[in-house]
Symmetry: C2
Subunit: 271 residues, 2 copies
């Protein structure tokens, strides 16, 4: 399996603290040593750092941890391979351009059934079921809308429905970013918290690091953090329920939507 990390904020924030915790799970405190990736948005564009080496040993991961880049939206991943060999092509997150912006996707779980579904305009570069699912999801959005939806709630609903469809019969915990929102779907295991005033200290679960956010923030700052497992030991994390999609925007949880497959006509008849 793998572990996910997402961050979505109302002021540019660096992800160094959370990434330092995730990095430890890439071969030290957890066995997700088959590569790591981190996407940092700058407007509609994501800069992506990818490395098939273990995050805990990777010089590039050390560089990212030591050279903070501020962003409003970030998606990270440490991989423990289940499908597809260890290589750059199979390293999450995956990125595609749609409607003139980058879409970034990372997955935890397996959705082998997704491979049987027909792809739209996007094709995988590697061999994971995860990237196939990413291409399915973005291809379906491309088919469903002529451009970025004017009413964001239409997009949220579409992502929720597609998450349910593609994840049916598999384990489809995912993070998806479009430069405006962070979408986070829980299938089995996902947690979030929103840091806001009054800020206090936080201590990493996986490393001997403590930060007092009251020294680094202003009273209006809000930072939502999503992770497979809580990254800190002294903060309250909310656990996701299977089949729900969170939508984060400007550092707040804007919506929680059901993200489950609709019953097929036959199933409905037999119910």
């Amino acid at each position: 399996m793998c572990e996910l990390l997402g961050m979505e904020c109302n002021v540019p924030t660096d992800i160094v603290f959370s990434f330092s915790g995730l990095r430890q799970r890439g071969g030290k405190t957890a066995p997700h040593a088959d590569g790591w990736g981190l996407a940092l948005y700058d407007g509609p564009v994501a800069r992506v750092f990818l490395d098939p080496d273990p995050a805990v040993e990777s010089p590039l991961a050390r560089f990212v941890a030591e050279n903070p880049i501020k962003t409003l939206l970030a998606i990270g991943h440490v991989r423990k391979r289940t499908r597809g060999p260890v290589c750059v092509a199979n390293t999450h997150p995956f990125v595609r351009e749609l409607w003139g912006r980058h879409w970034v996707f990372a997955h935890n779980g397996t959705v082998e059934g997704a491979r049987k579904k027909k792809l739209g305009r996007f094709r995988p570069l590697g061999t994971t079921d995860s990237e196939h699912a990413c291409c399915l999801l973005l291809g379906a959005l491309d088919s469903a809308f002529p451009g970025y939806p004017r009413r964001p709630t239409e997009l949220w609903q579409a992502v929720a429905e597609l998450g349910g469809e593609i994840g049916a019969g598999g384990t489809f915990n995912f993070l998806l970013g479009d430069g405006r929102h962070l979408f986070a779907r829980c299938a089995t295991n996902l947690h979030y918290l929103v840091r806001k005033a009054p800020f206090g200290p936080a201590t990493l679960a996986d490393d001997d690091v403590r930060v007092d956010f009251s020294e680094l923030t202003t009273p209006t700052d809000r930072v939502a953090v999503v992770a497979t497992r809580p990254l800190t030991t002294n903060e309250v994390w909310t656990q996701g329920k299977p089949g729900e999609l969170w939508v984060f925007d400007r550092g707040a949880l804007r919506a929680t939507l059901p993200s489950v497959a609709k019953p097929t006509p036959r199933a409905r008849r037999s119910a």
Copy 2:
């Protein structure tokens, strides 16, 4: 304007020597200080390092220069802005997925006329004429072929023709990679060399660095390097002619094709 760097090899090679020279032109020996980027292919996938800061000062550029990553195909760029502000979105090279592989594009010059042409499936993320031209070129390839052409020469011809069409009336020096080939179009200024046995020493034009490639290579190695201006002082570089496209594959120049706009029917009649 900007400066381009491409490398295409028959054995995995790091680009540190050439990139070290290019980096100096990003603010020290030349004024291309408005960002830099470097794409390093791993099979069909490009890892891309982007930074809107001057290459000569950038910690990420230093990291890339100090942590060699071997590759068969690389495309780099240092920017001196002419169109579009300095930001990540406007930093070359640009990347899109087409036919299940990454296509990487970097440009030197201006092609303002390209903005009037209708885009295909790819949309720009930023505001440069360069990225618009990239999207035009890849969109036209997508329309012209149902998938990656079986006969590579059909692809080479298409890239040559599209280079001529999109570049008509502008200055369209570009590098394009597809993970198999390096395409290099000369409009005004482009040079290449192929390093092969017998290897010898090379000295950078922009930094006090000398490498003896005979100590680092085997007799069958071949490395093609393309740059806006020669990067070394003691090697023979071949200068491109305006309107020609070079195609490099496995470290060798495989084809030189005319890349000029076809005369329109009216022009043909009046000739």
